[in-house]
């Protein structure tokens, strides 16, 4: 299992041909208290860089972009009931959605943990 990162502060956990996607702890700390998460519909085809989800703090709404192209196969319904999970466990329980990876070569453009740490340093 590999974890990759985008410069927009999303993480992807790759298991076979499915990527689980969330936002990083750094991202949640910048957003502040999350009060609402809007997730894509299961079955939706997302293009890389397309707005896929919305995360709202008290103060502002922020888009979450699809880091790669793929079809949404599952979304985290727990976030609807408890959006604050994004603040308490951004890298774990607060995953947003799972994508069936359309083109594995797109993963090559993403950062590993060390590169992401340097990006946010």
């Amino acid at each position: 299992m590999t974890t990759l990162y985008t410069s927009d502060h999303e993480w992807l956990r790759i298991e076979g041909d499915v990527a689980t996607i969330g936002i990083t702890d750094y991202a949640q700390s910048q957003l502040g208290d999350v009060v609402f998460v809007e997730l894509p519909k299961v079955g939706r085809s997302l293009k890389k860089a397309e707005a896929a989800a919305v995360v709202e703090s008290v103060k502002a709404a922020s888009d979450v972009y699809a880091p790669i192209t793929g079809e949404v196969v599952e979304v985290n319904e727990a976030l609807a009931a408890e959006p604050a999970l994004v603040n308490s466990d951004a890298g774990g329980k607060a995953w947003f959605f799972k994508l069936k990876i359309a083109d594995k070569s797109e993963l090559g453009g993403l950062m590993d943990e060390a590169a992401y740490a340097a990006h946010t340093a």
Binding site: G32, D33, F36, S57, V58, A61, A80
Partner: protein, 381 residues
Amino acid sequence: MLASDNSPLKQTPLHALHLARGARMVPFAGYDMPVQYTAGVLKEHLHTRSHAGLFDVSHMGQLALRPRSGKVADAALALEKLVPQDILGIAPGRQRYAQFTNQDGGLLDDLMVANFGDHLFVVVNAACKDEDEAHLRAHLSDACEIVSLADRALIALQGPKAESALAKLCADAVAMKFMDAGPRRVDGVDCFVSRSGYTGEDGFEISVPSDKAEALATALLDNPDVLPIGLGARDSLRLEAGLCLYGHDIDTTTTPVEGALEWSVQKVRRNGGARAGGFQGADKILAQLTQGASRRRAGLRPDGRAPVREGAVLFADATAAEPIGKVTSGGFGPSLNAPVAMGYLPTSLAAIGTTVFAEVRGQRLPLKVVAMPFVANTYKR
């Protein structure tokens, strides 16, 4: 309104204190201001409602209007040329909410006016303060000396524990009622204290000489009931309280009647009153006070949890093509644990209980028109 140019940001006398307490700073009205501290907007909001919050509002404009005649009534009558409020009727030691109007009945700014016995003390919005001062100088210079009190900071202390926190430094605070205002000694310093604020909570605003501001703020923050609160929570608090943010909910295109601020226009300035009219835009505003206006600011509660924010376009139903209005303030109300908004609607659709729709990311979300404030205020009357 945010500063749109690249001129260096100004700092308030509490700037170092903000940085020392871990504030995240943002540009606001030309100042480098704290949007939140380490607790975050949600906790800061709830702490203010349950205990007390300290807000740096030193970016706002403070002015003294000193009557050349020596009679405060002359300053009051002069100011009545610019606002639709009864200024002459503000008793010594009292304060009142007012608006500067323009020739079209729109609003140039909203402000607080206090009668300090021998002069008027005025607090205006940061983004408008230069224009407001020029406006006062242009119209009131014959009657008043207009003194900019730029050497004073302004600290708001808000919440149910505000009284006990301030009482430790100013025993006189306890006897003050909502909208009492005047000079008071606070921690040995000559201040101006009013029992008011902009959160819907009981509380105080304390005008203090700049060089004494940090010591006073620190003394108040030494009380474990008091946390520093940033502009983020100030905005969610005032929104829950149903209070207008100038430049958003009211501006030069909205009249006091459209803005649902009729309560702030006293009878003596209305048709049939002893000093009816005589302010800019009076024809339009007085007519609207009698006949109503075609649109009105209304409180809106979105169904569900998705915030509906400023700029969202409003529709009468889920499919109508023609917009009927716009959201002017909207976000999440931490005390309600639900989204809240306000916006302008045709008066026919502004009745409480009406359902309207806002377009958010291509979807029509239903909102219910509700009475404001969204959260009951706790003023000490």
